[in-house]
Symmetry: C2
Subunit: 409 residues, 2 copies
């Protein structure tokens, strides 16, 4: 930590100039701090004469930016993020930003500028269609989760990786905000006052709380694969034809279903939000159908890729036919984690733009209630789900019930 200091825009430019080969010697560099996240500084640095010639500096702060210096946070997460990015570049090239360099003492990673890309969450809020996204993310999940599991790595290499990606502070954030705080009257919680009664019911639901603890236990004790760890639609950047997964600073060895569930849960948060901010019935229906299709396709692509790789690399060490029941458990975990992610975005500390951009609290309430209802059903009924289509049907059914109950009241 001795040589660490947080850059300002001018220092970022000077440092960029000192890195040989990053820009042409004649470049006139400019810099902008564009971070809107919770934990880091993000500098965009470009050549004024060739604005396409640009890079990103990501620098970890030794505290959580969203809270301030009172919440210190290790900058070792920058090392973890950079090592994960480099590994993702090997395992799923073209689906993550390229890394041009790094400096661990400064907690700094220099990487590809994705200014032409849009955060997927924002794209979904705008009801855009992404014909390649599901295929790309499904493949990303299949490759990164398979190649970091015991089904590819030797038993010793895998255990070494578990040590390398031990990430206690960032895991603790997830443990608290996703699995603990939303289930009792914690100070961190933050919900629409109209939901008060629904939230009180949630806290009293013994079966739900038991099932959530089971999922928390799985999150904390299941070293299946090296996860991205925070794979919501804000960690995915897209163009019409390209997809990039960013921000793997939460990386750690955990249950595969947690990454897959993050994608599914966030698609469904958008599904719930459509109740509130669609301009026409047709539009809502079409986009919700589109989102359920994406969910199915993400799972199918993951499953195909993962099974294909398992077959390709299989030997006597693991018994091949086990892949079927294995993937069934991964699906059930994914549904459960998706549920937890939906509940926490309604009840807990950090919310999502999909819902927050609905101005009218009464309209937003209907979307939030739907998100909560889907989340709860997913947690409670995940063990009955043996096919992704059943999950889609369950979402439809919950929606119908919710709409009916709104009409009655």
């Amino acid at each position: 930590m001795n040589n660490y200091h947080a850059f300002n825009e001018q220092e970022a430019v000077e440092y960029a100039r000192s890195l040989k080969g990053l820009f042409s010697p004649k470049a006139v560099l400019e810099s902008n701090e564009i971070g809107d996240g919770n934990l880091n500084l993000i500098f965009r640095i470009w050549d004024r004469s060739q604005p396409k010639d640009s890079v990103i500096f990501k620098q970890a702060l030794p505290y959580a930016r969203v809270v301030g210096e009172s919440m210190p946070l290790t900058i070792d997460r920058a090392r973890i993020e950079r090592e994960m990015l480099l590994l993702h570049n090997q395992l799923a090239p073209g689906l993550v930003p390229q890394v041009y360099g790094y400096q661990d003492e400064l907690a700094l990673t220099v990487m590809e500028d994705l200014s032409d890309y849009l955060i997927l969450r924002k794209g979904l809020v705008q009801r855009k269609l992404y014909p390649h996204f599901a295929e790309h993310i499904g493949r990303f999940l299949g490759k990164t989760l398979f190649f970091t599991s015991d089904y590819f790595l030797s038993s010793g290499e895998k255990k070494q990786r578990v040590v390398q990606f031990t990430n206690p502070e960032l895991c603790k954030i997830t443990e608290d905000l996703v699995f603990t705080d939303p289930y009792f009257d914690a100070q961190t919680n933050n919900y629409n006052p109209l939901l008060k009664e629904k939230v009180a019911q949630l806290w009293k639901n013994r079966t739900l709380r038991t099932e959530v603890q089971k999922l928390k236990d799985t999150f904390m004790t299941r070293t299946q694969s090296l996860l991205h760890g925070d794979l919501h639609t804000g960690s995915i950047m897209v163009t019409d034809s390209q997809t990039r997964v960013i921000d793997p600073e939460f990386a750690f060895y955990g249950p595969m279903g947690f990454d897959i569930g993050a994608v599914i849960g966030n698609l469904l948060l958008n599904f719930a939000a459509q109740e509130g901010h669609c301009s026409s019935l047709e539009e809502r229906k079409a986009y919700q159908t589109y989102l359920l299709g994406l969910m199915k396709q993400v799972w199918d692509e993951f499953q195909d890729e993962f099974s294909r790789l398992w077959r390709e690399y299989n030997d006597e060490t693991f018994y091949y036919p086990y892949v079927r029941s294995y993937l069934q458990e991964v699906l059930q975990d994914a549904i459960g984690f998706a549920g937890c992610k939906m509940i926490r975005r309604v009840v807990g500390l950090a919310h999502v733009e999909d819902l927050e951009c609905i101005q009218d609290p009464q309209v937003r309430f209907h979307s939030e209630k739907l998100a909560l209802a889907i989340g709860i059903k997913f947690v409670l009924h995940r063990k009955e789900i043996n096919d992704i289509l059943e999950a889609a049907l369950l979402v439809r059914r919950v929606r119908t019930e919710e709409v009916k109950s709104n009409e009655v009241n």
Copy 2:
């Protein structure tokens, strides 16, 4: 490794003399290498004028003694064993040997001499009764498994411990010998030729192999608690009133059920052996009933201790009512692992004295067949077992079926 060398008896004496306070300055020391294990040197060192004044030197060899220098093995396991012993002394004082000192470069631990104790396995072969053993081991399991889990440690401390006790080489031995090799025609396997047909059936049993892979996956990816890792009846020493758990060099973070299952599986290997070497029907019946009672009592003591501690240390972090379904899963894991342990001791590389001391291969065959049948049923039906009594009933039922099938043939 630079200063490492393996002691002979004379060097062990000289080293003991150099450790201040270990013996009186006037002591006339003698030494005997008494190791009969597979991996280490064990020196007993005592004062000739006061033979009760004695200690044990345990020194890891940089290879597996049972195979020779061609199978190198890290001496880091001596560090792991010693750190585990020290921790066990804190968590379950009086149930493990005391540690008097250690020297990591020599892979040496100096500890309490348990010459007055008998290895439990030998005691069971002699059909001795141990009125305190089940209570002691149940308590040992409850304390060591609870106090090293996420239900006691903070999330960060627990993750640090996972790193500290990363033990790839010794885990690999278990992965291969317990979960992989017995399920195909591996070179390491070693079984009574009379079992040939039974073993061929085992290899063709798809459901069984799938379930074993599931248990192997749990062994490799479930960091529930810091396990002893090799808790068979050869790792437990007893007197009429005392119990000591020794040899935790396989320690690692794994599923609780693996330690509990090791105890259960080894009690039942003795149960199966009784078919062969009991002198009278009455004696067999009585001792088998005794063993099933021990199995039940070990589980009950564990369950009581674990639940009591969970209640005592519980806060908002975990939802208390979850303990019931949690322990149900631990029981089902334990039954499954017990089954794997039984199968491997019949089919795989390393056998147990309980069965091996039956001279007549035909007589031993009946015991081995029973052990195999119980093991298979345990693996296949573990998810239907919700109470330890049901496991005992299943054992009884399998025995009856086996005896019948022997009479028919």
